[in-house]
């Protein structure tokens, strides 16, 4: 299947949408969104649920899902994020889902690398890149740094350092940055192919070492697989208050928190365990140790 190429009109629409939404959120010019994407999601009242889902086989991993639910005329919006992915891809996936949120293109699952054959997904990817790092800003950075808009004469080492610095500031995945540089025609086809072939996740490799030299803390964070499970503290609060107002009982409270990998204990609630439960516990551990021996 051939890859989808967005035409000028479609690109302009995406640029405009990204610009408007960035502005509405108070991000102007050279202000990176980076980690603020999590606050943005929360402020838009989108419920973020995190869970690590390992990928299998050749297919790119499921990266995120946007889900709508309508109750009594009010819309509830959820984003499910796969945290078995590298952190920079998680940030990108969230920005991708925001496109679907803003354009109301419906509930769906996304696989970041698989979707360039689908027009809406290609647009969402382009939006994510534009939202995190606007094209005009990238062009201006290139021009300011190199005093020209073409980097075709620039050697690979310099380019790698440049990309690593961009990555640590703007929190885009390495490959998205390479793609962006190609899109603004700063690099040639052969430079693109060469840069795209770099194993950017190898922390011992050339790029990995460069990234760590530039900003170790952020670079390692971007390359980490967080495997987080849970939801935002604001939403956890709903569950705790429901318990405090006697809307749910102790069991339901424990079970619900457990689903999000939390315990009542963490929030200062200790429940007495009945003898019956204790027996069940003992049996369980006895069985476990029997199995091991």
């Amino acid at each position: 299947m051939s890859k989808i190429t967005l035409d000028e009109f479609e690109l302009e629409e995406i640029r405009k949408l990204a610009r408007d939404e960035r502005q509405a959120l108070g991000f102007v010019g050279e202000t990176p969104i980076a980690n603020d994407i999590f606050t943005i999601i929360e402020n838009l009242n989108i419920k973020l649920l995190e869970y690590p889902i390992e990928s299998e086989g050749e297919k790119p991993a499921f990266s995120a899902a946007l889900m709508y639910s309508e109750e009594g005329g009010e819309e509830l919006v959820f984003i499910g994020l796969n945290t078995a992915d590298h952190f920079d891809k998680q940030v990108f996936a969230l920005a991708h889902e925001l496109y679907h949120f803003y354009t109301k293109t419906g509930s769906h699952l996304s696989r970041l690398e698989d979707e360039e054959n689908n027009l809406v997904e290609a647009k969402a990817n382009r939006f994510a890149a534009e939202f995190l790092l606007p094209e005009s800003v990238l062009e201006s950075i290139v021009l300011t740094e190199f005093k020209k808009s073409s980097l075709q004469e620039v050697q690979t080492k310099t380019l790698l350092r440049f990309i690593a610095r961009l990555q640590c500031t703007w929190w885009l995945p390495y490959r998205s940055l390479v793609k962006r540089l190609k899109e603004i025609e700063a690099i040639s086809d052969s430079q693109y192919t060469q840069l795209y072939a770099v194993n950017e996740r190898n922390l011992e490799g050339e790029y990995g070492r460069l990234g760590q030299a530039i900003n170790r803390e952020i670079f390692l964070k971007l390359n980490a697989i967080t495997s987080n499970i849970g939801l935002s503290p604001k939403d956890i609060e709903v569950i705790i208050r429901n318990f405090e107002d006697n809307i749910i009982d102790e069991d339901k409270f424990s079970d619900t928190l457990h689903l999000f990998h939390k315990t009542p204990d963490e929030f200062g609630y200790e429940f007495t365990i009945t003898d019956e439960d204790m027996d069940e516990f003992d049996d369980f551990f006895k069985e476990e140790s029997d199995n091991e021996s």
Binding site: P52, F62, G72, L76, H108, I239
Partner: protein, 116 residues
């Protein structure tokens, strides 16, 4: 497809009942629907049966068909699950759904509590 709008029904029942100067108790006597159920219909908390709906329209004089609104069927949760997932992914996505449905339930319980 069209579906019954509990919001529209709640509003219509409450408004027409008050217009006719009826209390919930009086409406209950006229329609044979339990007073508590009438309260719940007005709070969008109960969907009446067709017979009860007919009794309400007869007494309060409104059109049943006006209570139905066009609803685009999304069924998005189901659609999501069928998107070519491997076994391992299915398990993970099911877990995400469980989290989502649980949180939704907690939010709805909260809303109901705060509106009462």
């Amino acid at each position: 497809m069209k579906r019954l709008s509990t919001a529209k029904l709640a509003e219509t029942v409450k408004e027409t009942r008050e217009e006719k100067g009826l209390t919930q108790e009086e409406l209950s006597n006229l329609t044979g629907i339990n007073r508590i159920m009438i309260g719940r219909i007005e709070r969008e908390n109960f969907i009446p049966s067709i017979t009860q709906l007919e009794a309400l329209t007869n007494v309060l004089d409104f059109e049943i068909t006006d209570m139905f609104i066009e609803k685009k069927e999304t069924n998005s949760f189901i659609a999501l699950r069928s998107e070519a997932l491997s076994e391992g992914e299915k398990e993970g996505v099911d877990r995400l759904f469980e989290m989502m449905l649980t949180l939704r339930q907690q939010i709805l319980l909260r809303r109901k509590f705060e509106n009462e």
